[in-house]
Symmetry: C2
């Protein structure tokens, strides 16, 4: 695919999961030339960084992987603070803030994206947050995104000079199945992506964490064959 119109630069936060890959496809569809940002913040699921590199390459998009000090993101099951929950029913996934919440993660990611964007003249930032399936994460809520956008425009030279930043959240109100259908239409190869919170050393998905559960259900409901590579026995 083409890299988009260079006169429309944008920052796309790319985790390497299903949602961010779809978000990248949407940004390109809409004519933007994305600079993808991926973050190594000490997450246990490093497989997502390799997935992010595959996804960016498949779209011909530039990728920058940024390392963040892991000491600022402690106390999460994703950064070594306890086990990743497994086999939770959907009702449990949908209620409360999960142990996989990472302190201030999306705020830090968006802030770094803002700095990167202002540095290169981009005023559009894409993030694949979703308030349907991941309703438990405070930093996936629409009110957080709105507040961030307002803060971003107060924090920056561009914003203070009237060149507003726009935070694009094209998946905010879509269910997982609809996201998969949309991405499939846009040519996303979900075999390249990695959503699992607890993959094995080969990067194969556990099939049992919240993220695997939502992803599996999404493919099932979308009527799309699930291309995820699961660890041996994961779905037993």
């Amino acid at each position: 695919m083409a890299g988009g119109d260079p006169s429309q630069p944008a920052i796309v936060l790319l985790s390497g999961g299903l949602d961010s890959a779809t978000t990248l496809a949407i940004a390109q569809r809409d004519g933007f030339a994305p600079l993808c940002l991926a973050f190594d913040y000490g997450q246990r699921h490093k497989a997502e960084l390799e997935a992010g590199a595959r996804v960016a390459a498949s779209f011909g998009a530039e990728l920058r992987t940024v390392t963040l000090d892991p000491s600022c993101f402690r106390g999460s099951a994703l950064t070594g603070g306890g086990a990743v929950p497994k086999d939770r029913p959907e009702s449990a996934i949908a209620s409360g803030i999960p142990d996989t919440y990472v302190p201030a993660r999306n705020l830090v990611f968006l802030s770094m994206a803002l700095g990167a964007g202002e540095s290169i003249g981009a005023r559009d930032i894409f993030i694949g947050v979703n308030a349907v399936d991941y309703s438990g994460y405070p930093d996936c809520r629409p009110e957080f995104i709105s507040a961030f956008e307002e803060t971003a425009n107060l924090a920056t030279r561009a914003g203070a000079q009237g060149e507003s930043f726009r935070i694009h959240t094209p998946l905010l109100h879509l269910g997982k199945a609809r996201i998969i259908q949309l991405g499939t239409e846009l040519g996303v190869d979900y075999a390249l992506t990695s959503s699992c919170y607890d993959p094995d050393a080969q990067g194969l998905a556990c099939g049992r964490c919240d993220s695997c559960a939502l992803r599996r259900k999404g493919f099932d409901e979308a009527g799309v064959i699930d291309p995820t590579r699961y660890a041996p026995g994961a779905l037993a």
Copy 2:
């Protein structure tokens, strides 16, 4: 000095300059046990990092130096994007956004502080921003701080659960001379600090950048002897 009450942990953003050293002193005076965060973001004035270490040690406070990817902070005179302005009259310093503005810097710093704070159970974050002498920086304005505090409480588990974060800006409305008088009363050794935007290889101040100019004037107006070590000939 004592490290403060461990039951009152706080994050203090410590650049190693005059303002942040005073802010640290205020946090300790108010009973907080500070964890100081310093950031290496590719700034040309690395002397401030050494100054931050000296200042933290002088207060017996813990210091964590966090490295941030410099690619997210380009286009500033402080990160190699052109020369640091020198010999500007006060009227010029006070008007417009200076070339030393760094994209989204305070937003990134505060966001990382929020992650660090939530990680260790701190809900109080101190930052030495000042809207009097540095009125040109958008991310030193009270409206930015207010918006950030609101966003922080939407972004985090603690905030969503009603444990609000507080952003403390004790210097926000103080002039430089008053800051120096206050810090002197609290035992700050300003000889340890470094404010210069363009120090020489030995860390000696240039005496001519905006930051040096405001600092020199502050000591003069405060009636406090300026302990800054200037480069040979800097004040000629």
